[in-house]
């Protein structure tokens, strides 16, 4: 299936842009498919195309020197990625990986996009909105990662909600833990992994087992 005007008219960048204008842009778009787990962009790569998710889901993330992953954003159909590299003339600041079995992306090279935006104020205005929304999301993530000790909060939540097997089980999803800790779901997943690295808890399929309560108490700042 090739990309159509309908496909691009719903993208954040092109909302409200006339169909006649979009039809001039359509031939400049490429389309690629990825299978689950395939890398679309690697952090540091000099990739100068703007990407849009056509179908499936794309995970945007950074990886630390120790191999720890921090999800930045889950990108769904209609949303863009690699905007920063395209508009800053720099390398990609993050990696993008297909999460869905058949993930379809549309892409347009910056050398094709820029002349269009220079002539189309609506598209340029849309781009500002998209980038401002992304900046807000990144600032929230910075706040979560640097100003709040999320691992300690998650440790406290686990202690407050744990029961011994015989008493039945308290159940919590990562979204619920995120809401309780006042943070993003993406940050909770990482905190749980960090807690597991300390040896205080063990993650077992659908269970979080507290194996060293004293250590967890310490990590929660409770003693």
């Amino acid at each position: 299936m090739s990309i159509t005007i309908e496909n691009i008219s719903i993208l954040g960048y092109f909302k409200g842009v006339g169909a006649d204008r979009l039809s001039s842009l359509l031939p400049l778009f490429g389309q690629r498919s990825f299978s689950k787990g395939q890398t679309i962009i690697s952090e540091g790569e000099s990739e100068q195309s703007l990407y849009f998710v056509g179908a499936g889901v794309v995970k945007i993330f950074k990886t630390s020197a120790e191999g720890k992953e921090q999800i930045i954003k889950i990108t769904r159909p209609g949303e863009s990625f690699n905007d920063i590299a395209v508009f800053s003339n720099g390398p990609s600041p993050y990696s993008a990986q297909a999460l869905g079995t058949t993930t379809v992306v549309y892409l347009i090279h910056k050398n094709d996009l820029m002349p269009f935006m220079e002539k189309d104020w609506k598209a340029a205005q849309n781009a500002l909105h998209v980038l401002a929304d992304q900046s807000r999301l990144l600032l929230n993530l910075i706040e979560d990662l640097s100003f709040k000790n999320v691992m300690a909060r998650v440790a406290k939540i686990l202690l407050e909600n744990s029961l011994h097997g015989a008493e039945g089980f308290q159940k919590l999803t990562q979204y619920e833990m995120a809401a309780m800790a006042g943070t993003a779901r993406e940050v909770v997943g990482r905190s749980l992994k960090s807690l597991e690295d300390t040896g205080a808890v063990r993650l077992e399929r659908h269970q979080i087992v507290i194996v060293n309560k004293d250590l967890l108490n310490q990590l929660a700042g409770l003693n």
Binding site: K36, P77, L99, S162, K171, L172, Y175, G189, Q207, I208
Partner: protein, 68 residues
């Protein structure tokens, strides 16, 4: 029989994203919504919960202490 994520069909808008990320086949589109089918190898990766924007899918963790 293994535990599966919890689905609230009233919240499901049928976007199908969970089906595309699931590697165990527990999630199937049936008409306009998703249904769960019993499988043995759901690894509780929570990807379905992660991509579901409506909160229709939940992967709850039991929190247990094994110390006295």
């Amino acid at each position: 029989m293994s535990t599966l994520p919890v689905l609230d069909p009233t919240k499901c808008d049928g976007c199908g994203l969970c089906v595309t990320v699931c590697r165990c086949g527990a999630l199937v589109m049936t008409g306009a919504t998703v249904t769960l089918v019993q499988v043995d190898d759901c690894g509780w990766c929570c990807d379905c919960e992660l991509v579901c924007e409506t909160g229709a899918l939940q992967c709850p963790f039991e929190i247990i202490t094994i110390e006295d």
